[in-house]
C-alpha cells in the first residue's frame, strides 16, 4: 500500500483538525473530573504525550514544558488533587489552542497529516507492515518541519515503528503489545559516547542521539506503550539537557562520569527483572564493570596534559595508586559472578570508596559505596527470594540519593515523592558537577562533595577527618607500625587528610591554616622523596619531634578556627618545619637566627616554591621577573650577612 500524497492543507483546515482533538480531550478531562472515570485518564495521557512530543520536535519549549508538567501530574494521578490536575490539563489545552495561530505552520501541517496516517494505519491488513508507512511519514514530517534536504541517519525499522506508534498513541493496533528492546538501542549509543571520551573528543553528537532516543522512550513510557521506569528516564534526560546546554568546549571528567552513571543506570533498569525471579548478581557486576571503566578513563584524565606536578600532594600520584586498585578490582569483576568474587569486589569497592572520598571525588565515591551496598544486599538476600531483594533495592535506591532530607519523606515509598526527590537530587548533581571554573564556586560544589552541594565545606572538614584531630593516636599508630608498607599506608592517609584540609581552608578563606597544612604536607611528601622512613627502625626521634610540633600547631589553629577565633600566626611552626627539612636534606648548616640569614632562608624557600608552580598559574613573563627579583634579593642578603659576619656584628 502506498501512502497517498499529502498536499499542504490550509491553515484553517489544520486548525479545525487539531481543535477537534483538543475539544475531545477537554471533554474527557471534564468527564474524569466529574465521575473519576479512569479510562478517561488513559486517553488523556496519550493525548498529552503526543502534544508534548510535538512541542519538543518543533521547539515549542514553553508549550512542551507546560504539557509535560500536566502529563506528570496526570501520570501520578493523585485522586485527592483531581481538581487541580484537571485545571492544569485544561490550561494546557488552552495554550495549545492559542498556539494554533498563523505562523505556526509546521505544527499546523502536522496535525492533519497525523490524522491521515492514522486512518491509513487503521485500514492496514495483517500482511502489511507499518514500517514503510512510518518511513514516509517521517520523511514528510522532516520536510514540513523545515529540514528539507537534510538526510538524517536512516533509523531501523523497529525504531521507526516505535516512533510512529508513540506519536500516534498506538491507537491503530490496540491489541498488539509494543515490544521494544530498548537496551539494544542504547548500547551502541553509549559505546559511542565512551569511545569519544576515550579519544578525548567531546561526545556531543552521540549525546544528542542519546537524547533523541531517550525522548522517544520517555514519550512512549508516558503513553504507556512500554514499561520502563519513568523517573529514571526523566533524570537521565534532565542531566543530558543540562550538560549539553552548559558545556561547549572541554568536558570535565566528573560531569561525564556522572552522566555515564545515570545512563548506565537507566539502561540497567530498562531490563526489569521478572516477578519471582531470583536476584542475579550479574547485572550488578556488569554495572560495576561499567563504573570501573568509566572511572579508569577519568583517572587517566590529566588537566595539565600529562605534565608532572611537583606539589606536596601530587594528584597524579594518587591517581596512579587508584589505577592500581582499579586494575585489581577489574580482575575481580571480570572473573565472573561466583559467590566469592562479589565478596572480594565488595571489600575492594569499600576501599575505593574511601580513596575517592579522600580525593574529593565524592560523586564517584557515592557510586562505589552504592554498588558495594547493592552487592552486599544481593549476597545477603540471594537465598531468600524476590521480596527481600526488592526491599534491598529500595534501600539501594535511597543510598544513591544524596539529599539529607531523603529519610523523612521516603520511608513510605510513595512514587510521586520519590520521583520528585530523585529529580531534585539529580538536578543538583548536574549543577554540582557543572563547568569547572577557577573560582571558588566549582570548588565549593566539588569540595562540598556530596552531590547536591547540600553539605557545606565546613561541615565536611569538621566531621571528615580522623587522624588530624587526634595526633596522639596517629603517632601511637605510626610508632607501632610493623612494616614500611603499613607505615606508608598511614602516612598516605594523613597526607590525604592534609590535602582535603588545604583545599577546604582555601575555600573557607583561612590562609593561615592552609599555609600550615601545605608545609606539613610538604614534610610528609619529603619522606617519600628521600627514601622515607627506614623500614625496620621506624621514624627517628628528630622526625617525630618535628611532626608532633607540626601536628600540634595545626591542631591548635584548627581548634581556634572551630571556635570562631582568630587563627594565630603559623610562622613559628612553618619556620621550624622548614628548618627541619633543610637540615634533613643538607645536613647541619649552622644557620643562625640572625635576620639576614632568616631572610635568605625564606628567599630560597620562595624560589623553590615558585619554580614548582604550574606555568599556567603564573605567566612565564611574571614568573621570570619574580624569580629575577628574588635572586637579586638573595644576592643582597648574602652580601649583608657576609658583612655582618666579617664585622662581628650580631
Amino acid at each position: 500500500m502506498k501512502l497517498r500524497h499529502y498536499g499542504l492543507p490550509s491553515v484553517d483546515v489544520v486548525r479545525a483538525g487539531l481543535q477537534g482533538e483538543l475539544v475531545q480531550a477537554e471533554k474527557m478531562c471534564r468527564d474524569w473530573s466529574a465521575t473519576g472515570n479512569r479510562q478517561s485518564v488513559s486517553a488523556l495521557l496519550k493525548v498529552l504525550g503526543g502534544l508534548a512530543l510535538l512541542g519538543r520536535l518543533y521547539r515549542l519549549s514553553r508549550l512542551e514544558a507546560v504539557t509535560r508538567q500536566a502529563l506528570r501530574l496526570l501520570c501520578d494521578r493523585p485522586d485527592g488533587q483531581r481538581r487541580e490536575v484537571v485545571a492544569q490539563c485544561l490550561r494546557v489545552f488552552l495554550y495549545w489552542n492559542g498556539a494554533l495561530e498563523p505562523g505556526r505552520s509546521a505544527l499546523a501541517y502536522l496535525g492533519p497529516l497525523r490524522s491521515r496516517v492514522l486512518e491509513e494505519l487503521r485500514e492496514l491488513d495483517g500482511e502489511a507492515s507499518p514500517t514503510d508507512m512510518a518511513r514516509q511519514y517521517l520523511a514528510l514530517r522532516d520536510v514540513l518541519a523545515g529540514r528539507k534536504g537534510k538526510q538524517d541517519a536512516v533509523p531501523t525499522a523497529a525504531r521507526l515503528c516505535t516512533i510512529l506508534l508513540v506519536e500516534e498513541s498506538a491507537r491503530c493496533r490496540p491489541d498488539e503489545p509494543l515490544v521494544v528492546d530498548v537496551a539494544l538501542r542504547l548500547d551502541p549509543l553509549l559505546a559511542e559516547v565512551e569511545a569519544c571520551r576515550n579519544s578525548g573528543t567531546p561526545p556531543r553528537q552521540a549525546l544528542y542521539a542519546v537524547v533523541r532516543e531517550l525522548s522517544v522512550l520517555y514519550a512512549a513510557a508516558r503513553l504507556r506503550c512500554i514499561d520502563v521506569p519513568i523517573p529514571a528516564l526523566r533524570q537521565a534526560l534532565w542531566l543530558l539537557f543540562l550538560l549539553l546546554r552548559h558545556h561547549v568546549g572541554d568536558w570535565p571528567a566528573d560531569s561525564l562520569s556522572v552522566l555515564m552513571r545515570q545512563l548506565l543506570a537507566v539502561q540497567y533498569r530498562l531490563r526489569p527483572m521478572p516477578r519471582g525471579a531470583a536476584p542475579d548478581i550479574r547485572p550488578v557486576m556488569r554495572h560495576t564493570g561499567c563504573f570501573l571503566r568509566t572511572w579508569r578513563s577519568a583517572v587517566a584524565f590529566s588537566p595539565t596534559g600529562g605534565q608532572e606536578i611537583p606539589e606536596p600532594i601530587n594528584e597524579a600520584r594518587i591517581r596512579d595508586e587508584l589505577r592500581l586498585d582499579l586494575q585489581v578490582l577489574m580482575r575481580g569483576v571480570s572473573a565472573g559472578g561466583s559467590g566469592r568474587d562479589p565478596a572480594a569486589v565488595c571489600s575492594s569497592l569499600s576501599k575505593l570508596h574511601l580513596n575517592l572520598h579522600s580525593l574529593g571525588r565524592l560523586t564517584m565515591a557515592w557510586w562505589a559505596d552504592s554498588l558495594q551496598h547493592a552487592m552486599l544486599a544481593l549476597l545477603q538476600s540471594g537465598t531468600r527470594g524476590g521480596p527481600v531483594w526488592q526491599s534491598h533495592l529500595s534501600g539501594f535506591r535511597m543510598r544513591i540519593l544524596p539529599l539529607p532530607g531523603r529519610c523523612a519523606g521516603l520511608e513510605n515509598g510513595t512514587e510521586p515523592l520519590l520521583a520528585a526527590v530523585e529529580e531534585e537530587a539529580w538536578r543538583m548533581t548536574a549543577v554540582a558537577v557543572g563547568p569547572r571554573t577557577t573560582g571558588s564556586q566549582a570548588g565549593v560544589a566539588e569540595s562540598a562533595g556530596c552531590p547536591g552541594a547540600g553539605i557545606p565545606v565546613i561541615d565536611q572538614l569538621s566531621g571528615g577527618m580522623n587522624l588530624l584531630p587526634d595526633p596522639a593516636l596517629f603517632f601511637q599508630r605510626l610508632t607501632a607500625c610493623e612494616s614500611a608498607h603499613e607505615r606508608g599506608e598511614l602516612i598516605r592517609a594523613v597526607r590525604n587528610e592534609l590535602f582535603v584540609l588545604e583545599k577546604g581552608a582555601r575555600l573557607l578563606g583561612v590562609p593561615r591554616i592552609e599555609a600550615l597544612a601545605t608545609v606539613l604536607a610538604t614534610v610528609y611528601s619529603g619522606l617519600d622523596g628521600d627514601g622515607g622512613i627506614p623500614g625496620d627502625s621506624g621514624p627517628d626521634r628528630s622526625l617525630l619531634v618535628a611532626l608532633q610540633r607540626g601536628h600540634a600547631g595545626l591542631l591548635y589553629r584548627l581548634d581556634q578556627a572551630a571556635a570562631w577565633q582568630t587563627v594565630s600566626r603559623p610562622q613559628p611552626v612553618i619556620e621550624f618545619l622548614y628548618r627541619f627539612m633543610e637540615r634533613r636534606q643538607k645536613g647541619p648548616s649552622g644557620t643562625g637566627l640572625a635576620p639576614p640569614q632568616r631572610c635568605l632562608a625564606i628567599n630560597r624557600r620562595l624560589q623553590s616554591l615558585l619554580q614548582s608552580l604550574w606555568t599556567d598559574a603564573i605567566t612565564k613573563e611574571r614568573r621570570t621577573l619574580i624569580l629575577t627579583l628574588m635572586r637579586d634579593q638573595a644576592r643582597l642578603l648574602r652580601e649583608m650577612s657576609e658583612e655582618v659576619v666579617n664585622n662581628g656584628q650580631p
Binding site: P456, D459, S462, G463, M465, D470, A472, A562, A563, W564
Partner: protein, 125 residues
C-alpha cells in the same frame, strides 16, 4: 565538698548561675576561671565530668577541654551557645564526650547534664 562536676568558664557570673543550677539538680559543682585551676580541681577532686566553655578570652574550649581530658582522664564536655553542626562534629572528632547548649532554661541544662552522665555511666568515657 567534693565536686561531681567542674566548670571552666572565664565569666564568673555564668559560673555562678551554672553552679546553682547543677547543685539544685543534685550535682555537686565547682567552677573555675582558668585552665590551671581547672587542672588542679580535676586532679584533686576527680569529678565525673568537666564542662568547658567554648569561647574563652584566653585559649579556646576545644583545646582546653581536650587537654583536661587527656591529662586527667576526666570526661570533658563543651558548652556552646549556637550549637552549630560543625561545632558538634568537631567536638566529637576531638574526642569530647558531649556538647551542652546554653543559654537554656534550668531544666534543659539539668536534663542535658543528666543525659551526658548517664551515657558515660553506660558506655564509659
Amino acid at each position: 565538698m567534693k565536686a561531681g562536676i567542674v566548670i571552666l568558664d572565664d565569666s564568673m557570673i555564668q559560673n555562678a548561675v551554672l553552679v546553682s543550677v547543677l547543685r539544685a539538680a543534685g550535682h555537686p559543682a565547682e567552677a573555675c576561671t582558668s585552665l590551671p585551676a581547672a587542672l588542679r580541681l580535676c586532679r584533686e577532686q576527680l569529678p565525673r565530668l568537666v564542662l568547658v566553655e567554648l569561647v574563652l578570652r584566653q585559649g579556646n574550649g576545644y583545646s582546653q577541654a581536650s587537654f583536661l581530658q587527656r591529662r586527667t582522664g576526666v570526661p570533658a564536655a563543651l558548652m556552646v551557645s549556637r550549637q552549630q553542626p560543625a561545632e558538634v562534629r568537631w567536638a566529637r572528632a576531638r574526642g569530647l564526650c558531649g556538647v551542652l547548649p546554653r543559654p537554656r532554661p534550668d531544666e534543659a541544662v539539668q536534663q542535658s547534664v543528666a543525659a551526658i552522665l548517664h551515657r558515660l555511666a553506660v558506655h564509659g568515657s
